[in-house]
């Protein structure tokens, strides 16, 4: 039994702050050889920060770090690797143009005594390792030619067979199909039985419960509980993750929220059977005037692709889009904008011009409506000034470079640029991410006002609070498909999480 063995890794009172904000507060964490240790918690709960400390990404922290009972400090990821700690990060980090074998041995190629790569040995060993993992591919194939799930498995294989004693897997299953997940789990169990310590982070709580021996729950930078996986349940874990709503000042949406009855107003956007290879499967829904549709799902669920399809940046493999009943096929984003769609992407880098003044940021999408050949800067400034006042953007100086504004105010500018001429449909991705409470509430209020004026709005987010605070109706995306719709009923955060 794992409990009998002495810990391979022991963290005591780990505290880590970024620019005054504490991401971890006095966390204790124990990992034993031969155990699979599941970690759950919401975005920003501190899981990833803790893992990055273990993997040497963050060398600065306070608290004690004991490896094999000896106090240790990693100065870099190299130190961590040398100590036998390996991590698979959330984002795929493979070299698509290299062969499968080269990827398996990335940075670790077998060489002879002259320092030359032993290609044949590398191909043979890569093939053997992947076969042990149940993957049957030609090691000479270009990795990028394989499906995403297989690429992810190969990246995982690289780490699993690197000989590491401690393996950290951050969201390894998001791009995997159910049989692939099964294969991963059986390999993890085998490695565990051979004595490897494995930390497994996932939003999919069923996965955590199925594969882990121990589960630790994080909330707001603290460890809430750790327990044997066999002794807990999904409902219990979700409750531990989101708390009872007493600790934080913010709304935590643990209680029921009544969604309004389904709107009877005209359909603005109709999405029918939209599919994208390796991205979306038969996604159908509609959005009506004067309602906010929330699209919720974990990272990698297909939200990103769906939002790009709505704004003409990606083209669906199959399926149709209709705006007010009329079939649409956008050649580019300019087409989508002219059809009356407004789009605010999830990253502020991707939606604003940081080195340009506020007024140019606000006018960029309406220049063809306020001017023909020649610009009308005075008109642009007065429109911008009106938007700045209405949305209370601070500082209220339209000549100021956008980069001087705070994140919340930048988000308001991103909204403002679409509001001079009301669009037919507003698509917002992560509209309140990374904002303080005040700015968040401002944005929520702005979106509600727009809805009350009759706009059709889609809010996409991987944060349940964002969707719950804004949406009148919610659809849940999971692995590219709509798995659940909530309309006209009571909903709470744990039920939303449970559906995803």
């Amino acid at each position: 039994m794992p409990e009998d063995r002495s810990p391979i890794l022991e963290l005591q009172g780990i505290t880590k702050a970024f620019g005054g904000v504490e991401a971890l507060r006095g966390v204790d964490f124990t990992l034993r050889p031969g155990e699979i240790h599941g970690l759950v918690g919401e975005n920003g709960a501190g899981k990833s920060t803790l893992m990055k400390i273990i993997a040497g990404v963050h060398p600065e922290f306070s608290g004690r770090f004991l490896l094999d009972g000896h106090e240790t400090r990693f100065r870099s990821t190299r130190d961590a690797r040398a100590a036998g700690i390996a991590m698979v990060h959330q984002e795929l980090s493979v070299a698509p143009d290299l062969s499968v074998a080269e990827n398996v041995f990335l940075g670790n190629q077998p060489t002879n005594r002259f320092g030359l790569v032993q290609w044949r040995r590398m191909a043979r060993e890569a093939g053997d390792q992947l076969a042990r993992f149940g993957i049957d591919v030609d090691p000479a194939m270009r990795l990028g030619d394989l499906p995403i799930g297989l690429q992810q498995l190969i990246e995982i294989a690289r780490v699993l067979f690197s000989g590491a004693r401690i393996i950290i897997l951050d969201e390894p299953t998001s791009a995997l199909s159910p049989p692939e997940v099964e294969r991963l789990f059986s390999t993890l169990r085998r490695l565990r039985d051979e004595g490897t310590a494995i930390i497994f982070i996932s939003h999919f709580i069923e996965d955590i419960l199925r594969v882990s021996d121990t589960v630790t729950v994080f909330r707001n930078g603290r460890k809430v509980t750790d327990t044997a996986a066999a002794a807990t349940s999904k409902a219990e874990l979700i409750e531990a993750m989101i708390g009872k709503g007493r600790e934080a000042l913010e709304e935590t949406y643990t209680h029921d929220i009544a969604l309004p009855a389904r709107s009877e107003r005209p359909v603005v956007l109709g999405v029918d059977q939209v599919s994208l290879p390796r991205g979306l499967q038969d996604v159908s829904f509609d959005v009506r005037a004067g309602e906010v549709l929330g699209v919720y799902g974990f990272m990698g669920c297909g939200q990103l692709e769906l939002s790009r399809i709505l704004f003409g940046k990606l083209w669906p493999g199959q399926g149709t889009l209709r705006l007010a009943g009329a079939l649409q096929s956008f050649a580019n984003t300019a087409d989508a904008r002219r059809a009356g769609i407004a789009f605010v992407p999830e990253s502020r880098r991707a939606m604003l011009f940081h080195q340009e003044p506020i007024y140019k940021n606000i006018s960029v999408s309406i220049l063809d409506r306020i001017s023909s050949l020649l610009l009308k800067p005075a008109r642009e400034r007065s429109i911008a000034a009106r938007q700045v006042e209405q949305l209370q953007i601070r500082p209220a100086a339209v000549e100021l470079d956008l980069g001087m504004l705070s994140g919340g105010n930048q988000q308001k500018v991103a909204l403002a640029k679409w509001l001079t001429y009301p669009p037919r449909l507003l698509v917002l991705c992560e509209p309140t991410r990374g904002m303080d409470v005040g700015a968040k509430n401002d944005v929520i209020q702005i979106v509600r006002d727009l809805r009350d004026k009759g706009l059709a709005i889609i809010v996409m987010s991987t944060e349940p609070e964002t969707v719950l605070s804004l949406a009148d109706r919610i659809i849940v995306l999971k692995r590219g498909a709509v798995v659940r719709e909530f309309a006209g009923e009571a909903i709470s955060k744990d039920r939303l999480l449970e559906a995803a």
Binding site: T15, T333, A334, A350, Q355, K360, V364
Partner: protein, 344 residues
Amino acid sequence: MSGESVTVSTPDHKRPHRLARLLRSQMRNIAPFLTLILLSGFFAVASPSFATIDNLGNILTQVSVTGIIAVGLTFVILCAEIDLSIASVANVTGIAVAYFSQQESYVNIANVPLAGWAAILLALALCALLGLVNAFGLTVIGIPSFIMTLAMMQIAAGISALLVRGPIAYKVPSLISTLGSGSVSGIPWIVIVAAIMLLAGHLVLTYTRFGRYVYMVGGNREAAEFSGLNVNLILGSVMVIAAVCAGIGGMLGVAHFGSAQQNEFDTYLLDSIAAVVVGGTSLFGGRGGIGNTIVGLFVLGVLNNGLDHVNIDSFLKILIRGLILLAALVINVYAQRLRARAVD
């Protein structure tokens, strides 16, 4: 046991002094101008023949062809793209306009003489077409402009070679020869044309919707796309503009030099890129403009002309020009960083 609690204090980032901030953000405009003043001052002291009205006229004439070509290139670089085919396109357009003109009987060339206006129109159509091919490769196929225009450089050179097949042509339509080598009340027409084109480029970039889009696409292409701008249309347009400007520069250049032949414009590629970049237009796009290009043209013009006045090893000249370009690149990249820091 438990770690001592850390109190992390974020030091209030002191706002730099307003003047320092302005200097930082304007570095890309100030540095080229200072360079120009320093170079002019140096040559004025070093050579009595440099700082004269006559020589100013020389410098203006010497930079005119580069200036015409650099107008279009400024648009391209503002979009964070590059066009390496401009010199070749200039050359082939110049050759084309001669190819469609009646040559003297001693020129051994199998050409197609047409009326002057037809020759000019065909030559313009040719450079616009080559620009369209660049635009197509960049936007529709998705070839990086660096590679696409490298291929076009070779293609245009190939067309030039096929048209002249060795000999040199001398005659061009009278309109072209007037604009290229004539003058009006002492001012060469080519200087006037260059000035008009630079002014037109400046007006388009500053006062038109298209000009604003160029800056927006160059400043942040992703944001431009997510703002619903037709990024490909704008990128394609600047490639055509660059080719047409190069073509006009090529036609007038042929008249200016008095002959149309293979490889006549080879030095103009580096010169026009240098003029734009030395002037301070950002290689990362979105910053700079025709004003910068004009300063850059004068820096290059003063340098080339001045080095002739101070009696210097002509081989050393090439090296000095290379070093000046390197210095400009360093300042260009550094200015971008300073600016980013001043804003963020």
